[in-house]
């Protein structure tokens, strides 16, 4: 289990995904701010970009040799950090897994038992978006899905969740990949609208692409007629929801995930027992909740039971 039998250092190392995306920047802020507030020393490193699987592993390996008492990791894929984590686990240092879960089989094979997992189920987030779209548009309406880089794990999970929720209630006419980029999503949405003027809704795997789609819808003069839903809950996206651009976004609160991650480390280092899974909050933000969400940003707007508060105060 999670022991404090390591070096006893209370320093925390965090390795997260690429900072070229606001989602992970918010996560970084969550970790940093909490550390500052609690007087913990933290080193945060990030992958070069969303495809930098080995680079991320290299960075974790570099940190593994240093004097850290606990590691917070957000792997790019289920297994890319497993090799790098093996020596950390062997040294008995606690590992807090956030956002992207480590592949269970791979972890078991390498003798890694994360102290806890904190995150949102990306599939569930996609599902929330799917349910929302189903409720907004008539049955059998045409929808298109724009994913991140083709082959990306997170994107695939969100898209799968959306498709599962859509079931046969929606007609998914197209699925394309816009590399997580606003401009690419804009171009593709423009093309898709041109090919299918009767399209009812778009689902985007992240907010940046969602905002690109909004722009395309705007250019086509169809604002309000086409439903656009994305996942993340970035500031920009919330503003857009408020302004009537995005119809909704499924907020995942990366800031809160980061915060929880750091707190979990504190608990682990102090020798506390952590729950195996901590579900971080997700919330569908529509125009009704937008104001509230913006003022609470980056914290969740809905009351949220932090399971770690009690453990921390001990």
């Amino acid at each position: 289990g999670s022991g404090s039998d390591g070096s006893g250092s209370s320093n925390v190392a965090a390795v997260i995904k690429g900072l070229d995306n606001p989602f992970f920047q918010a996560m970084q802020s969550g970790i940093q701010d909490t550390a500052d507030a609690d007087g913990v020393s933290v080193t945060i490193q990030a992958a070069a970009d969303i495809g930098d699987t080995t680079g991320q592993a290299d960075k974790l390996t570099a940190l593994a040799g240093q004097d850290f008492g606990c590691f917070v990791v957000n792997p790019i894929s289920g297994s890319n950090l497993v090799q790098a984590l093996a020596p950390i686990a062997a040294a008995g240092k606690p590992i807090v897994n956030i956002d992207q879960p480590i592949d269970a089989d791979a972890a078991a094979a390498a003798n890694i038992t994360p102290a806890t997992y904190i995150g949102t189920d990306n599939e569930a987030a996609g599902g929330k978006a799917g349910d929302f779209v189903v409720s907004k548009v008539p049955a059998g309406a045409k929808v298109a899905i724009i994913g991140g880089i083709a082959g990306d794990v997170t994107s695939a999970a969100r898209v799968d969740g959306f498709k599962a929720a859509a079931g046969d209630k929606l007609d998914v006419i197209q699925e394309s990949a816009a590399d997580w980029k606003r401009e690419v999503a804009l171009t593709q949405a423009t093309d898709i609208i041109a090919a299918n003027p009767d399209i009812s809704a778009f689902f985007a795997a992240n907010d940046d692409m969602g905002l690109g789609i909004v722009k395309a819808v705007e250019n086509a003069g169809l604002t309000g007629k086409i439903t656009v839903v994305s996942v993340d809950g970035n500031k920009d996206a919330l503003e857009s929801v408020k302004a009537g651009g995005l119809t909704a976004t499924v907020a995942q609160y990366p800031y809160a995930i980061g915060e929880l991650g750091l707190q979990a480390c504190q608990v682990a280092v102090a020798g506390g027992d952590l729950p195996k899974d901590i579900e971080s909050p997700t919330a569908l933000v529509t125009s009704a909740e937008a104001d509230q969400a913006i003022s609470a940003f980056p914290q969740p707007f809905a009351p949220f039971e932090n399971p770690l508060e009690g453990l921390l105060s001990k």
């Binding site: 900072l19 606001p22 990949a177 997580w180 980029k181 804009l186 041109a194 090919a195 905002l211 722009k215």
Partner: protein, 315 residues
Amino acid sequence: MRSFGGQLKQLSFWAENAAPIGLVVLVIVFAILSPTFLTLGNIKAMLVAAAILVILAIGQSFVITTGGIDLSISATMTLGAVGFGLAYTAGLGFWLSAVVAILTGLLIGLINGLLIATGKVTDFIATLGTLSVATGLALIVSNGKPITVTSVELLTLTSGSVWIFGYPIILAAILGVLAWFFMFRTRFGLHVQAVGGNEDSARANGISSTRIRMAVYLISAGLAGVAAILLVARVGAAEPAINTQYLLNSIAAVVLGGVSLTGGKAKIVGPIIGALLLTALTNGLTLLGVSQFYQPLAVGLVVVLAALLTRFQKK
């Protein structure tokens, strides 16, 4: 007519005109497969989408004519966009921000020029270095966050149009005409071709290859700055994300346009058509709902086929 028919049989005819022929073939194929493809709305959208690539391809074409290559072109655009965003947020207004975007671009161009023209560093490595530097700078100054820009002028720029020609493609066309003029009708353009054709001979005739090289990297970077404005206008935000795709596509467009990477042979219309071709390809594939997985394959095949064709060009 006979002589034209005879020409058609010549491989070199096809080679010289790989880009326009490819474009025509694509248009015919897509028009048959998708009823939407040739609608005015789609053509308009395609042209607007092509504008940025067209401008980058023009810049790249100047560099490649001197036998160089600008790998930093898309990173420079990113940095320019961030520069625009920061300037606009700081309250400089549209026009001043646009100037900032172009100046930011020119800064990278200046570094490229100094390294390559004065420092005699290989173009490939120098611009690979500035690609990294510009990417880093864009992330640092923007703090890695997209900067949302809402400006009336930007809105006009993206949404305004004359018939099916949106303002971005009109801007690109104007730049294309200017580029053509400077390349083929002025001393400067002749000297660009001369330096690319044979640097030693050009210098023996009193042409400063240093100045010419400096100039082409400035042109390329300046155009990347202009493209940056269009990019911000298009997405409504300045994003520090790297646009590798634009880099590879700008080079592919120039080569599809029949410009040899060894330099010396200038073309402006060719690369523009190359850029349109690449845009039409992605557009058509999206319209047809071709799986995302097959799109890189299709682009790769087109590039390879065109390259196979261009090799039959007359020397």
